[in-house]
Structure formats: C-alpha cells, structure tokens
C-alpha cells in the first residue's frame, strides 16, 4: 500500500497518512439504519433524527445531477464509502490531550503554530469529528459561541433548531440531502449583536482513512452589526481509491452584519469535493466568499448569497487550479431579492496538464428588486493545449433599473512575458510561477498573509517541471 500511496503523492505535500486507528468505525455503505445509528450514537434530539431520515429518503430517491461532469460523478460508489469514523473519544481543549498520531498530523499542517500566532479560535476535524477545539477566552467572554457542530447541537439545541437547514434545505440537491442525512462535525459559530471578532477563527478538515466520507455541517450566525472572518482549510492523504467530501455550509448575516468566509481547498487528487455553500444577507449586511480550489479530483461548488434585505452586499472572489486529472467546476450565485443590493463576482481559473476548469454562475435580479448593481468578471488562463476552460454564466434580470456588467476573458501565457522574465534571470518554471501567482493575486491578497504565502508556494510547486 505504501508503494501505491507513494506513487501518486507526487508533489502534493500533504499526501502522507497515519495508521487508521479508530474507536468506532461503521461498515462501508449507506442505509436508513446507518443514518439512525449515527444519530443514536450522537444521542441527538428526535427532531434531528427525523430530519436525517427524511433527508436520507430524499437522497435515495433523487437522481444524480444531469449537468456538470457526469462521467466523473457517476463513478462515485456510495456503497464503498465509510460514513462514520470516530478516531478520538472526545474533543480536546489542549493539543497535548489529542492522540499522538493525530496531533503530529496537525503539527505537520502547521495548525497549532498558526493558532498561537494569529487565530481567535480553532476547530480541527479528523475524519468524522472534531478532535480539538478552542476559542480565545476574550471572545467567549463577549458571548461568541464557537463549537464543533455536534457540541453546538448539544449545548444550544434551540438556536440550532431555529436555523439549521433554513438556508439550505435538505431537498436542495442530492448532496445536501446526503449531508443532512449523515452529517458529522463542522462548525457552529454565533456572534452576538455588535461584536466584532478581530482575529479570524479557523476550521481545519483532515481526512485520513481510505474511502472515507466526510460530511461536515457548518452554521454561522452573525447577529446584528457583528463581524467575523472564518477560515477553513483541508487536506487528505493521496490514495488510489476515492474519498468523498460533501459539506453543507449555511451563513446568516443579520442586519448590518459582515461575514467573510475564506477557503483554501487543497484536497488530494482522489477526493470528490461536492459542497453546498449558501448565505443569507439581511438589510445592509455583507457576505464575502473568498474561495480557493487547488486540490481534489472533482469539485462542484458555487458559493451563493441570497441578498434578502435592502442594501445588502455580496462579494465572491474565487480561484480554481485544475491540473492533471482534475476538474474544478466552480462559480458563484447571487440572488438580488431586495432593492439597492449590490454584488461583485471575480472568478479566476488556471488549467494545466489536461486539467479542466468550469465557471458556472447565476445572477438573478427579481422584478421588484430595483436599483441593484452587479459586476461579474471571469478570467481563465490556459497553460497548454491539452487543458480546457468553460464558462456557463446565467443571468436573470427582472427589471431595467438595475445595472449589470459582465466581463469574461480567456488567455494564455504570452511568450513575450516569459522572455521578459527569463531575461531578468528567472528560469522558465520560475517565470511561469510568477505569472500564475500574479494572475491569482486579486484572490491571494484577500487571504490572511500566512495563507497567501502558502498558496503562492503551492502554485510555484505546481509549475515546476511543467515545461518540457
């Protein structure tokens, strides 16, 4: 197995894995019983068990999406996936209490170090559940609730019940149904009125086992006038068999609140990443999705914002890198459901070595939502003749008082740029790395510096040996 693993790790730095120690591991495969067992194991309230079962039945009946990369989607074998794996009996508040193997993994990923330096709170999920969780005392004192989702349901059942599934109902799509049926872990974050969380809080998701399914569920509620920046990262070992990551993330920004949600998705190239992310922005609220997709085999993810209150604003900045064997099917959806709402969408993608990137966007302005403004910019960079980029923009504009702009470009690296940089002492790979980092710069400058540096390094690594 180690040979096989070694073979496909390649340049992917996070492809290592630990022994698969587990305290509870369900047999592979999915049934209503598996769903009930998960709920029972977690000792959940009846309403959650019922919701899970309802969602499972919907999942079982619902056909696979008939758009996107159907060939890839249809190779997912739902019966060859482990739906629940507990690797540590409790969520620890100190890294010292976390089992050694797992702690070492997070050390290698730099999480404890980042926590000390610049984070307000951290939750670290390993397989199905959080193994570590902490939040700075000062945030706790201000009433900020930051828990893994399982603990959130236990400690704040009413708050969870009020909002869970209100932004993304289980029946939204096949994978939101799957997540609702078997969800485990994820974050629950509540920011009280007027509280501004200055340091980002971070969640890190790690899959370790083969054929693992990870189904975290995140719910963020920013009460009136509050602000928060939530950052998520993820990696997995490289295996020759597939794993599935299917998350549901719901954000609720109350009047005047601001949520920024930043992601650097760097799954290994054997992970299907099928995620539903959606936010509701009430009056004068702002929601920003900063979404980077570098890894995975197939990603389908279109962060969305429902602009429900007048004056609300949505910002979606996303980048996708599709290398060999990868398809990044990403984009953004913004629904202008109230007047004088505004949105900006910037999407950048790079395709290389036969990789494929697709931008799928939806911009909707309802007839009654007057005076809306929106700007959509999609730029694709294709690095060789084997690679591919497609754009599928949809616009539904219901009135004439709204102002919309859409720009799209597809470009190649020019020989003039390469020659210029090489004449300044850069090798061809280094020159490509610079150009590519520059192309993604409007995204990376939005990230916390540590993430930006890491992302630039990753891209430079991807450019090494790229030119024959």
């Amino acid at each position: 197995m180690s040979d096989e693993t070694q073979e496909i790790i390649g340049d992917y730095r996070y492809g290592f894995h630990d022994p698969e120690n587990s305290t509870i591991r369900f047999d592979k495969g999915l049934s209503e019983q598996v769903v009930r067992d998960i709920s029972e194991l977690k000792d959940e309230p009846q309403w959650m068990t019922d919701l899970r079962v309802k969602a499972f039945r919907h999942f079982a009946e619902r056909v696979m999406p008939e758009w996107g990369n159907c060939d890839m989607l249809n190779t997912i074998d739902f019966e060859n996936i482990t739906y629940f794996l507990r690797s540590s009996n409790q969520t620890e508040k100190s890294w010292d209490e976390v089992p050694d193997d797992i702690k070492n993994t997070f050390d290698r990923l730099g999480i404890p170090e980042a926590e000390q330096k610049w984070l307000g709170g951290v939750t670290a999920q390993y397989e199905s559940e959080a193994v570590y969780h902490s939040i700075r005392e000062d945030l706790e004192e201000q009433g900020v609730i930051f828990l893994d989702m399982d603990s959130g349901l236990k400690q704040y059942p009413e708050l969870v019940k009020k909002y869970f599934g209100t932004v993304i109902p289980h029946s939204d799509n096949k994978f939101s149904a799957l997540n609702t049926a078997v969800w485990s872990g994820g974050s629950f974050l509540y920011i009280p009125k007027g509280v501004s969380v200055e340091m980002p809080v971070q969640a890190y998701f790690r899959i370790n086992a083969k054929n693992m399914g990870q189904f975290e569920r995140t719910l963020i509620i920013a009460d009136e006038g509050s602000t928060v920046h939530y950052v998520e990262g993820c990696t997995a070992p490289s295996y020759s068999t597939d794993s599935l990551h299917s998350a549901v993330v719901e954000l609720i920004a109350m009047e005047g609140a601001k949520i920024r949600y930043s992601t650097v998705q760097n799954w290994s190239s054997n992970v299907y990443n099928l995620v539903t992310k959606r936010a509701v922005a009430h009056k004068n609220a702002t929601v920003e999705w900063v979404d980077g997709n570098i890894g995975s085999k197939l990603t389908m993810k279109y962060p969305s914002v429902l602009l429900k209150g007048e004056g609300a604003h949505a910002e979606v900045i996303s980048v996708a890198y599709a290398g060999k064997g990868q398809h990044q099917d990403t984009g953004a959806k913004v629904h202008h459901l109230a007047s004088n709402t505004t949105s900006n969408i910037l999407s950048k993608s790079i395709s290389k070595d036969g990789g494929r990137s697709s931008y799928r966007g939806l911009l909707q302005v309802t007839p009654k939502s007057t005076g809306c403004r929106s700007k959509v910019v999609c730029d694709a960079l294709i690095l060789d003749g084997d690679s591919r980029s497609d754009t599928y923009p949809t616009m539904e504009i219901g009135n004439s008082s709204s102002d919309l702009e859409h720009e799209a470009s597809v470009s190649k690296v020019s020989s003039g740029q390469l020659f210029y940089l090489m004449s300044r002492g850069f090798t061809e790979d280094e020159a490509m790395g610079l150009i590519v980092n520059g192309f993604f710069e409007p995204f990376t400058r939005e990230l916390p510096m540590e993430y930006a540096v890491e992302l630039n390094k990753l891209l430079e690594l991807e450019m090494e040996g790229s030119i024959g």
């Binding site: 020019s414 020989s415 003039g416 740029q417 020659f419 210029y420 940089l421 090489m422 004449s423 300044r424 002492g425 850069f426 090798t427 061809e428 280094e430 020159a431 610079l434 150009i435 980092n437 520059g438 192309f439 993604f440 710069e441 409007p442």
Partner: protein, 251 residues
C-alpha cells in the same frame, strides 16, 4: 592575448538570423569591449531590435549562420536566464506587463537570481531607494504591478532601474529613448553612463538626442540586416541630418 579576452564583452560574427523563415539579419559583424558604447542606428525594420533580441536569446529568432560570443564563450547553448545570470541585460523596447506581480518583489527576486552576492534585507532596500532616487522614481512604483498600466516613460524608467540593480557586463538598450521627455531622457542617460563605465553597451536608437547625453565610441548604420557603415559620433549627426538614402546609394 589573455587581457584581450577579458576586455572583449561581445563578439558577433557573420550573423544571419531568420524569423519564421524570413531573413532579418544578413551577416552582422560587431565587437564590443568593456567600457565601450556602441550605437546602432537604422530605419524601422532594418534589424536593430532583432540584433538585441537574438543576443539575449529570444526563442522566436533562428540563427541560420554565424555565431555570438559573450566574454569569449559561444552563447548558443545558454538559455535566456543563464545569459541574464552571466551578466547580460536587455532594456526592452516594449517591456511585457506582468499583472499581479508587484515591482518591489519582482526586483528583489530578479536581483537575487542574477547577482552572485545579492544584498539582503536592509542593504537591498537601501540600494533600491538610492537607485530610485537617482531616477526620480516615487516609492509608490514598488507596489504597482510590473509594467501594468505604466506609461511609456514609466516603463523605460523601470527598465533602467533594473539595469542599475542588476549591474550587467553587457547592456543592450533597445530604443530606450523613445517615449521619454527631455528631463526623463537626461535621467535615463545618467543611469546608462553610470553602467557603461564598467560594461559593454549597445544602444539602439533612431535619434541623436540620446547620443548627445551618452557619448558613443562607435556608431553603426544598419540597412537590411547588415552594418553598412561604422564611424564615430559624427556619423550619428550625419544620419540625423541626411537620413539613410546616401548610404543606400553608396552601397
């Protein structure tokens, strides 16, 4: 003999060059020694830029005959970045823009890859600040993207800034004077004169005005890919005055 090898920076021998099968240079001969400033003048399309680009190693140009030697070594096997690291520098007529890459980090990385002992941290910043002051460049340049949205004059200043920092042994300046007003031209000329003391310098230009400020040791007139006449500074004045037709007739 040994001394002569050290002094010789560039030797171009019977150089024939084609682009996509079309001959551009048809047997150019040129020797540039350390401390010498050479100017190449000619009409548009005469092959001046091709000469500079082919010396730097542009992949679009094919050498069909002849050779180029840098400090006595044949250049043919050296890649573009290796030429840069060996001390060759080309100031581009149309420098490419690199969106998203800030001038400051670009300069730092470039200097680090080219110079044997690149200055670090504070020493680099000090050197950079001094060079920018010399060229009357504002600090805000450093956070702009390389050549992105730059005016013609700004681009040329950035080229000269790079030349000052990279300290080349061979400086190829391709129409560095175009697009500069007289004040900018004076500043740029000062930069060139500074580098020229210790290197070989090839200036490609249409106009006399740069040569008033940077005194060439040799002036070459190029027509149809051949250096048809070589002289001193007085040749440049004559070309400016009379154009190139009299040379055609003479040829």
């Amino acid at each position: 003999m040994g001394e002569r090898m050290v002094d010789e920076i560039l030797r171009v021998e019977n150089l024939h060059v084609s682009v996509e099968g079309t001959p551009i240079l048809n047997g150019v001969n040129l020797i540039i020694n350390r401390g010498e400033i050479h100017a190449v003048m000619g009409r548009n399309g005469a092959g001046k830029s091709t000469l500079a680009n082919v010396v730097m190693g542009h992949p679009a140009y094919e050498i069909t005959e002849g050779s180029i030697f840098y400090k006595g070594q044949p250049l043919e096997d050296l890649e573009v970045f290796e030429r840069a690291r060996a001390g060759m520098f080309l100031s581009f007529q149309y420098p490419a823009s690199i969106p998203g890459v800030q001038v400051g980090s670009f300069l730092k990385k470039s200097v680090a890859s080219v110079r044997d002992e690149p200055p670090k941290g504070r020493a680099f910043r000090k050197e950079l600040t001094a060079a920018m002051e010399q060229l009357s460049m504002d600090k805000s340049f450093l956070s702009r993207y390389v050549n992105d949205g730059f005016s013609g004059g700004e681009k040329k200043r950035l080229e000269i800034l790079q030349m000052l920092l990279l300290q080349p042994h061979l400086a190829l300046l391709d129409e560095t004077d175009s697009g500069l007003d007289i004040d900018a031209l004076r500043i740029v000329a000062q930069g060139i004169n500074e580098v020229a003391v210790n290197s070989g310098c090839l200036i490609i230009t249409h106009y006399q005005r740069l040569l008033d400020l940077v005194k060439p040791d040799f002036v070459h007139a190029m027509i149809d890919g051949v250096i048809i006449k070589t002289g001193g500074p007085e040749l440049a004045l004559r070309l400016e005055d009379k154009g190139y037709d009299w040379l055609d007739v003479a040829a």
